[in-house]
């Protein structure tokens, strides 16, 4: 077996694979704020006093949990592009705006991560006794203060394992953006294997890198959880 294809330099594909791995990590990290923040927002909306708002949040979660990620990605990518085209036509703009595939990936993955993480946030929020809210209100705290000073500090440690699981699957789900021509780790492996006709070597290497990512993030998660447990114990 000839492994030289994985080397760096002009004849090797190591550079491209490394770049792709960087894009994969970058994509996963870019998804986090929107995904987890959106999930928290969806969870808070489920406590809204209006039924329409609650149902809307519920419908959003059901849709993004029940639809394949790949389909969500295509709906975002082609749907937004169709929307942009329509707006262009309506405004009679000459310049053609092409949607950034990376951004579409972030939006689609965020929507899915938000739907999944909302369940985690919701159950953690529901576990906070309502007397705490009464007390916070009696102290004259406003809604934002209640959220950031009372609720989040205590539910964050509880949500860690759940959010960690979502991060783990997100790390793998980023691979679907390779289908809309974002050169992530999997796409880099595809390109390398197509040029060299060595699919087993390159897809195997990509799989190995994903495994390394997965194992590494599991280790980091365990460390963070231990630290939070220690904090809670003192």
């Amino acid at each position: 077996m000839d492994w030289s294809g994985l080397l760096f330099g002009p004849d090797g594909w190591g550079g491209l694979l490394l770049k792709g791995a960087g894009v994969t990590i970058l994509l996963a990290i870019s998804t986090l704020p929107l995904g987890f923040g959106g999930g928290l927002a969806l969870a808070l909306l489920k406590f809204a006093p209006y039924r329409t708002v609650r149902t809307g949040s519920e419908a959003c979660i059901t849709f993004f949990r029940g639809t394949p990620d790949l389909l969500v990605l295509f709906i975002v990518y082609f749907g937004l592009q169709a929307l942009v085209d329509r707006v262009e036509k309506a405004l009679a703009v000459d310049a053609h705006i092409e949607l950034n595939a990376f951004a579409a990936g972030v939006v689609a993955l965020s929507a899915v991560a938000a739907a999944y993480s909302s369940e985690v946030w919701f159950s953690a929020l529901a576990a906070v006794p309502s007397s705490q809210l009464d007390a916070a209100r009696a102290l004259g705290l406003n809604k934002r203060q209640i959220l950031f000073a009372v609720l989040l500090p205590q539910i964050c440690p509880i949500t860690l394992p759940g959010l960690g699981n979502i991060w783990n699957s997100l790390l793998k789900d980023t691979s679907i953006v390779s289908t809309i021509a974002v050169v992530d780790l999997l796409r880099a492996a595809s390109e390398a294997s197509r040029s060299t006709a060595r699919p087993i070597l390159f897809y195997g290497a990509a799989a190995a890198v994903y495994v390394v990512f997965g194992v590494a993030s599991a280790m980091v998660q365990r460390r963070i959880e231990v630290r939070f447990d220690k904090k809670a114990a003192t």
Partner: protein, 250 residues
């Protein structure tokens, strides 16, 4: 095809859901749906059998077997399914001489076979973890008690361990089935014409975006059905627990 009595702005809004599209491509969409259900059902069933073997190896107490099972679960849970699909589908082509000599090329040449193989191996890793958690949740003292009563190994599994473990595993299993249905959409990337594949083909032919929304609706119906069925079975299986809670309350 649009109802005539709606105001103009609403009709324009509804135009995004093109009904005429369904009359010409609906059948192909349904054909794709059947392929999706087929792939998901076969993979889930085979995955369950394989998961049982992996779970047994993991809990066997044998260091080598446990190690192999652990490696398997770690690898297949950390690798994206799309990567596995490409590995099997394109990798089979690279290994063609070897596969031909083994008489397996006929199977590996079919994209559908590679897809079912990849999905099965993938879901087996997840199902093995679910099974391990569920079996581990049954107190060991119960097995000892059953053994003391003189029940055979099979009877202990059949009448003591599994009925309780299945109740714990039901919800995660339901989620896993939903996961497989959703993940099966990736097979469209290696030329299989499942629901997703048909949808892409129709979109390529018509450039009508609403076909994606129809596909999403079909996926939603499937996953919601599984979710509700799981919830119904769960309720039926835990009815006696609700009675017990009520009795304890009184």
């Amino acid at each position: 095809m649009m109802p005539g009595h709606l105001p103009d702005y609403l009709q324009e809004y509804l135009a995004i859901l093109d009904v005429a599209l369904l009359s010409s491509y609906g059948l192909r969409l349904l054909q794709g749906l059947c392929v999706t259900i087929e792939i998901a059902a076969i993979s889930c069933a085979l995955g369950f059998v394989l998961a049982y073997a992996i779970c047994a190896a993991r809990m066997s107490g044998n260091v080598v077997l446990t190690g192999i099972a652990l490696c398997y679960v770690t690898f297949f849970r950390a690798t994206p399914l799309l990567c596995l699909l490409y590995l099997f589908y394109y990798g089979a082509g690279e290994l063609r001489p070897l596969l031909t000599s083994l008489g397996l090329w006929g199977a590996f040449r079919e994209a559908l076979f590679c897809c079912v193989l990849a999905l099965t191996l993938n879901t087996a890793a997840y199902q093995a973890e679910i099974m391990r958690g569920a079996l581990g949740s049954v107190p060991g003292a119960q097995v000892e008690a059953a053994r003391a009563l003189g029940l055979s190994k099979f009877r202990i599994q059949r009448h003591v361990v599994w009925p309780q473990a299945l109740r714990v595993a039901l919800r995660p299993f339901g989620n896993e089935i939903i996961g497989v249905i959703k993940a099966s959409s990736l097979v469209a990337m290696v030329t299989v014409l499942d629901l997703m594949g048909q949808t892409r083909a129709i979109f390529a032919a018509t450039f009508d975006f609403s076909i994606y929304l129809y596909a999403a609706l079909l996926y939603l119906i499937m996953t919601e059905l599984v979710r509700r069925a799981t919830a119904a079975v769960e309720q039926a299986w835990s009815r006696h627990l609700a009675v017990a809670v009520e009795a304890a309350g009184n």
